[in-house]
Symmetry: C2
Subunit: 479 residues, 2 copies
């Protein structure tokens, strides 16, 4: 890549859409695939996903879940069995009709999600209460034909996710599961991605096709649009009844299983970029940054070079041994200035410059990517100082994102105010609960009901129809 | 599952094909999918795959490789660009022709392998020697329509694998890469799977479509059939020339990149089952066993139960804290005898029985799954004894597999002997190097040339045509 292609030429505050695409492509996060709406997850974004996998695997394995891998091919007749669910996905399904030169006797869907195929197996595997609960998860890609407004990570025709699917003998246990996973997601999104979220249930018209109810985690981007960042569904017996999946309970009675499903996807990486980035590029929270500290050696003479590189390597080893993800940029064909820009573009949380002066004083300068602030650190206590700084950055990034979220949440009581603020962030308002009022909002503003917060009620009048209600909801335009 | 369905009813020595399928299904490794030739990788096999991923990731990341994820959708025109390669895969390609109700203007292939799509990106990403080497790997599933003789893990229409794809500025560097990976694979297969392998190059007619040469690792199953267990290809400029992928070298000249690709797949899990299993079920090598030690508590009276379970939990914690994968089977609705059979079926390397007697004596009995032998261990030094035993099992399993491999390798010098031994294992013979002699062997016996060992030569006469040669090759029937 030529040097003059390197930097982002759009301003985030002026043209966030153009800024976003440049940030994704120029930082080496993703590139466009040859089939419309597909992207490659380049090592720099994929290693973020690997960190997410490790963290989430720890949570779910610690609570008895196992990973598995189910076929990505679903025969058409199977997909059609659960009508409501199928209807929700059918416009987006990719259909295989040929294998080699053979015409297939039945069309095969590439999984848009795996409920159908997993229930096919649950039906075979579950006989008695002894087989329950079944706590399964898989990491895979899913395919949904997206033709309009595709955007790397945020909306693509193939993306990576995890999808959990569980079966339980009681409603209570299944509901507890859906709620526990919601808590895990909150932890992942807030503590790793440093993105504050609004949690709640989806309304009837916005919930997952086939769910009894859907928990959602919604984040707010700087441009005023919400991103659905994770969902956890209690499916009740909505799948097990039409599919006839039953078990013999301890009391000898035949009962339908209660199921859940839940997922987070690489869409979160899109939210991450949009949430924290600035005009110079990405700003990555330390817990997800593939490189947490970059060391840039600075020297002029050949003789200086060896000493500086030796010391840089010493610093690198010390940090690496303490489990810090550190990189020494020892490219000899790039200037320090070029390297500074490059690592700022890639959002590395901390930069250490090491030159003859640092070598002599054994005092290093820590530059923070998030605030741009510099501070000094003694070599003798470097690891501790770096770890403290990484922690401060992680917390600081969440704190400022949270302040932005608050400043972009508008509580309104009139439809005029609703329309004034919608598009600028979340609009929180009383809502009567009817689909017709949601439909009117969507028609007037293109905004949708993002979440009905849990356990939060306030008496008031529906912002659309004026009916008395104690339901509150968050509305926003969205990605 | 009913108890009488549990055990394997076929004998491995009598009907290995039926034995294999029962071992796979009854141990909970896999189950058949609704689309022909597809399987679900159930948690018990998937967790073996996770251990492989962790081990191999450590090797490749330690040598500068990164994981990424490339689109699974490849447009037809792209796939056709490299003719020889495409021809090799086209009979097996699954074609997508519709998205929702829309007909696609161009057919999309579901990746049978990713050379084509990855080279599409290499062409965009590689400009100068500074962009090289490019050392990429991905973990994903690939799809190849298999219609005949499908067998769980060994031959299916969708399977999991890793595929590495690297680009280099010189032939030497690329060849070194292909050879280094071959070494990693040998380590994985021998040290984790406890499967001894024959290494070598594939002949011209057996090599990967598009490769300059293919390194292969071949293992021998007890029924006399070989399994191709891993391949590493030096592709030279066979892809970069037709696709026009060049870079500017340090000397300012435009040159074609040299590439490699390499993969191991979940087929290895099939080899694992077939290699080590016995009439009771799986026998898993400790380094891959999802559960290395199972504790079966034994008690009669209620009062005994609590004491036995308390002590069992103590033992479990001690082993778990030492990093041993241990499970306490505390199901209260199953007899010890049922549990013994169950864990033998699943191939857990070590069983510990804990009853009132063990509680009192603080001496435990270690039962080995591989040999059936029992030995005593003091509670005070249990962790050390278990770790030593796991090591012994791992080594012992490799050793006996290696002895079997030797006893199933037949060095012959006449075509009569060749035909006598083929089908019973590897037949090692002089071969003139011609495709016509290979073709005759295939026609006469259905066996193929599995590998030409590296750096091994012996003067002699081609076993088919009698021509003088110093080439040696391993022939076998195969999965």
């Amino acid at each position: 890549m030529e040097d003059n292609d390197k930097g982002i030429t759009a301003k985030k505050s002026e043209d966030i859409s153009e800024w976003y695409v440049q940030a994704v492509l120029k930082s080496g996060m993703a590139d466009y695939g040859p089939v419309q709406g597909t992207i490659v997850f380049m090592p720099y974004s994929y290693s973020i996903w690997e960190i997410v996998q490790e963290a989430f695997n720890r949570m779910i394995k610690g609570t008895g879940h196992s990973n598995a891998y189910f076929p990505m091919f679903i025969p058409e007749n199977l997909l059609e069995k659960e009508a409501e669910h199928f209807e929700g996905f059918s416009p987006e399904v990719f259909w295989i009709t040929k294998a080699g030169s053979r015409d297939l006797s039945e069309r095969i869907a590439v999984r848009p999600t795996s409920e159908t195929i997993i229930y096919y197996f649950m039906q075979k595997w579950v006989r008695s209460w002894k087989d329950l609960p079944l706590l399964l998860n898989q990491w895979c890609s899913v395919a949904r034909a997206e033709i309009k407004a595709t955007k790397p990570f945020l909306r693509t025709s193939e993306f990576l996710w995890q999808e959990g699917h569980t079966a339980h003998s009681t409603k209570e246990e299944a509901e507890k599961e859906a709620s526990m996973i919601l808590g895990f997601y909150k932890q992942i999104i807030e503590e790793y991605f440093a993105i504050p979220i609004i949690m709640g249930k989806k309304s009837e018209s916005e919930k997952f096709a086939g769910a009894v109810y859907t928990y959602t985690l919604e984040s707010m981007m700087p441009d005023g649009k919400a991103v659905q960042s994770g969902t956890s569904h209690y499916l009740g017996t909505n799948f097990s009844k039409p599919l006839g999946i039953t078990f013999t309970d301890r009391d000898g009675n035949e009962k339908h299983i209660h199921t859940t499903s839940w997922g987070i996807s690489t869409r979160l990486i899109g939210a991450l970029i949009m949430e924290h980035g600035d005009d110079k590029g990405l700003v990555l929270p330390p817990r997800l940054a593939p490189i947490q500290v970059v060391i840039v050696p600075i020297y002029k003479a050949e003789e200086e070079m060896h000493k500086v590189l030796d010391f840089s390597n010493e610093v690198k080893s010390q940090l690496a041994n303490a489990g810090i993800r550190v990189k020494l940029d020892d490219r000899d064909d790039r200037s320090p200035g070029y390297k500074f820009n490059d690592w700022e573009l890639k959002g590395v949380p901390i930069r250490l410059e090491i030159g003859p002066r640092e070598l002599q004083s054994k005092t290093l300068v820590i530059s923070r990517r998030d605030t741009g602030k510099k501070s000094k650190a003694e070599y003798s206590s470097l690891t501790g100082t770096i770890n403290d700084t990484l922690k401060l950055i992680q917390e600081g990034m969440f704190k400022s994102a949270n302040e932005r979220l608050k400043s972009m949440t508008f509580e309104v009581s009139s439809y005029d105010d609703f329309k004034r603020y919608i598009g600028k962030g979340f609009v929180k308002a009383n809502w009567c609960g009817s689909e017709s009022c949601e439909a009117k909002i969507k028609e007037d503003t293109t905004a949708t009901n993002r979440a009905i917060p849990l356990d939060e009620h306030k008496k008031g009048k529906c912002v659309v129809c004026g009916k008395e209600t104690d339901i509150i909801a968050y509305f926003a335009k969205s990605y």
